[in-house]
Symmetry: C2
C-alpha cells in the first residue's frame, strides 16, 4: 500500500504515473512505447512503482505477436481529495488515481466566518464523504484546494484576498495537511477549474487555452503547453479589472469601468434590482427585494426583453475583452464557465459574435468558444489534478 | 573545425553549449556544477564537443584547492549570421558563438520588389560583411532571419503577409540555406527582437516578459519561461488590431479603431501631414509634403505642442492596451522598442502612467517598463539567438 508521502524515484516513473492517470491502464509494451524506454527498463520501473504501492499489475494484455505483456494500472488504493472553496459554498470530492469521482458532497458556508471555522467545516465534509465510501481509516494520497483569491503557492495561503477578511496568509496548506495527513497544494479557484477542464473537459487535447470564469467576479485561467501559467506574482489571468468603459460604475478596486463592475454575478444582481425597482422589468419585480443573476437568466428564458438585453450587453463587454486576449494569446480553445455561464446560449452567442468579429482571422480561424461541460465538478477534479501533478513528480 | 550541420549528440552537450553561449567561458568544474554532472562525465562531454569542433579548451582555471581545471569556451570558429528584414531596410550581422557582434551592415530595400530580388540583396550583404572580416571561405554555423509578417516555422516562409506581396510561402529558409550552406530559422521580426532583448538587453535575467515593437505597425513578442510563446497558429502577440476606439479610423484590416490605425509610424505620419496641411503645427508644416514619425519626435523635442499632444495621445492608447495585457499576463518586464520608441521620454512617461494607474497593483508592484537598450541591434542579435537555440539542441 502507498505510504503517505510516497513519490516516484525518477522522471521515468513520474512520466509513467501521469500517463496512467491521463490515459488509464495500459500494457507494459504500450507504456514502453509512450515513454521511449526499453522493455527491460520499463519492467524495472513498473516493478519499483508496484513496490512503492503506486501501481498494480492487473492482468495480461492481448498478444502483439509474442509473449503477452502485463497490464499496468494506477493502484486502486490511491485517493486524492479535491476541495473547491467558494464565497458561499464548499465542494468536496474523493477521486481515484485517474481522477474519477468516487464520492462528493457540497455544503453552504460563508467565507467571512474566517479560516478556522470554514476549514473545520471542510475537514468534516471530507470525513463525511470518505465515511460514505467506507474509507475513513485509509490514507489520503494528496489534497488539492481551490480558493477564490490570490494565492502564494510557496506559503500555501491566500494573500490579501478582497472578499475573504481574516484569510490573508492563514496557513491553509499546513492546517489541512495536519488534519488529513497528506501533502496539500492550494491554488486560485480559476486556475483549478482550468486544470479540471484540461483533465476531463472539452480541453483534454488542447495545450494552449483560456478558461474564463464568470461568477460573482470574473477571472481567467491561462494554460500554456498543458500547464497553468501564473505570471511572475501569481496574478496572471486577473482580468476582472480590465477597463471596459471609461465612464462605467465605480468598482470595489477603486477604478471606474472595470469588467467585473460592469458584468458578473454581483453586477447583474445590482442591475436587476435597479430595473425591478424602476419598473423596467415586471418579471424581475416579482423577485424583489433581491433578484439574482440566476433570476435574470430565468427572466431572459421566459422572454423578458430587459433581462435579455442585460445578458447581451454583458456578453458584448466580455467579448471585447476576450477579443483582445485572443489576438494577444492565440489560444486553441476558449472555455466559458462559472455560475453566470449558466445564462447559456444568449450569453455565448454574444461573446462569440464579438470575438469572431474583432479578433484577427488567423487567431480565430479554428478557435472554438464553448461553455464548460464540467460545470460544478471542474473545481474538484482540477484540485485533484493539481495535487496529483505534484505527487506524480520527482522532487 | 565544426562541420556544417554539426550538432550536440545529447542533452548534456546541448546544455553545455547554451551555458557557454549565455555565460561565456568557464572551467570544467564550474560547468559540472551548473549542469549537475560528475567530473568524469563533464570531461567526456567536453572532449566530444571539442572533437566536434564546437568548443575549445582555452587554458587552465585558477585553482579551487586541487588540480587546476581546464577553461572551456565555445569554438572561436563558430559563426552565426543574423538577418533582420524590414519593410524598407535589411540589417545583417556576423556573430560569434556567444552572439557578440563581429561585423554588421545595413542596406535600403523595398520588400515590395519581391523575395527573389530582396533575398539576392541579403546574400550580397552577408558576403560583404563576411569579406570585411576576411572570412569569406569559412563555413557559416547557422543563419537566423526576422521578417515583418506572420511566419510558418515548419515551412520557413511567410504566410499571407499584409505588407509583402509575392512573399507568401516563398521558401526563405531553403533559398538562404542553399546560398549560405547552413541551417536557417525564420521567425516574425517582433519575436526575433524579443529574443535579442532576452539575450543581451534589459531582459537578460527575466523569464516572463513582453516586448512591444512600435514601428510602422505594432506587435508584441511574448516570452514565457525564457522561450518565445507563439500561440497555436503562430499569431500570438499580434496586438496591432486590438480595438482602442469604437469610432476610430478605418484600419487596413477592415475593422475600425485598431491600435495600429490610431498609433504607430504610419498613423503618426498621416496625422502629422493632416496637422501640417491644416495649419495646426507650423513646425510640421516645414516638413511637407510628407512629415514622418521621426519629424513628430523632433517637433515635440523642439516644443511643438501639437506633436507633443500626438505622442501623449498615442502613449495613452498603447498604455490602455498594455494595462489589460499586464493584468492578464503578469509579466516581470515590459520593453518598448521599434522605430517609434525613438520618440523617447514623453511616450514612455505616458505609457507608464496609464499602465500603473490601470493595472492591478499586484501585477505592477515590481514591474519595470523600459525602452529597449539594444535599439537597432535587437533584431540581428535575436536572429542569432534563434538559430543558435536550434543548432545547440539535439534533434
Amino acid at each position: 500500500m502507498a505510504r503517505v508521502g510516497t513519490r516516484p524515484e525518477n522522471r521515468h516513473q513520474a512520466r509513467l504515473l501521469r500517463l496512467l492517470r491521463d490515459s488509464g491502464q495500459q500494457s507494459r509494451a504500450e507504456l514502453g512505447d509512450a515513454v521511449e524506454l526499453s522493455k527491460s527498463k520499463v519492467a524495472i520501473e513498473v516493478e519499483r512503482l508496484a513496490d512503492l504501492g503506486l501501481v498494480d499489475v492487473v492482468g495480461l494484455a492481448a498478444s502483439r505477436g509474442g509473449r503477452r505483456s502485463q497490464m499496468v494500472a494506477l493502484s486502486r488504493r490511491l485517493r486524492f481529495v479535491g476541495i473547491d472553496i467558494g464565497a458561499t459554498s464548499i465542494d468536496v470530492a474523493v477521486l481515484d488515481g485517474e481522477l474519477n469521482l468516487l464520492g462528493q458532497d457540497r455544503a453552504e458556508t460563508d467565507v467571512r466566518r474566517g479560516p478556522a471555522s470554514v476549514l473545520e467545516q471542510v475537514i468534516d465534509l471530507v470525513a463525511k464523504v470518505r465515511a460514505g465510501l467506507a474509507e475513513e481509516g485509509a490514507p489520503v494520497t494528496g489534497v488539492g484546494v481551490g480558493v477564490p483569491g490570490p494565492v502564494s503557492q510557496a506559503e500555501g495561503a491566500l494573500v490579501a484576498p478582497p472578499i475573504m477578511p481574516g484569510w490573508s496568509r492563514f496557513p491553509i496548506r499546513d492546517t489541512l495537511g495536519a488534519a488529513l495527513g497528506a501533502p496539500v497544494m492550494v491554488d486560485n479557484d480559476v486556475n483549478v477549474m482550468a486544470l479540471g477542464e484540461l483533465h476531463s473537459g472539452t480541453a483534454r487535447s488542447v495545450r494552449d487555452l483560456l478558461f474564463v470564469k464568470i461568477g460573482t467576479g470574473i477571472g481567467c485561467g491561462i494554460v500554456v503547453g498543458g500547464e497553468i501559467y501564473r505570471g511572475v506574482n501569481g496574478s496572471a489571468g486577473d482580468i476582472g479589472h480590465i477597463q471596459v468603459d471609461g465612464h462605467g460604475p465605480v468598482c470595489a478596486c477603486g477604478n471606474t469601468g472595470c469588467l467585473e463592475a460592469a458584468f458578473g454575478g454581483a453586477a447583474l444582481a445590482r442591475d436587476a434590482e435597479a430595473a425591478a425597482r424602476s419598473g423596467r422589468s415586471a418579471w424581475l419585480a416579482e423577485r424583489l427585494p433581491h433578484p439574482s443573476a440566476r433570476d435574470v437568466g430565468d427572466a431572459a428564458a421566459a422572454g423578458d426583453p430587459f433581462s435579455l438585453a442585460l445578458i447581451r450587453d454583458g456578453g458584448n463587454r466580455i467579448g471585447k475583452v476576450l477579443a483582445s486576449l485572443v489576438s494577444f494569446f492565440n489560444p486553441g480553445l476558449v472555455v466559458i464557465g462559472g455560475g453566470v455561464a449558466g445564462l447559456g446560449h444568449p450569453l455565448l452567442a454574444e461573446i462569440r459574435s464579438v470575438v469572431y468579429r474583432r479578433s484577427l482571422p488567423l487567431a480565430t480561424g479554428n478557435l472554438p468558444i464553448v461553455l464548460s461541460e464540467l460545470g460544478g465538478t471542474a473545481g474538484v477534479v482540477g484540485a485533484g489534478r493539481l495535487i496529483s501533478d505534484s505527487v506524480f513528480a520527482t522532487n
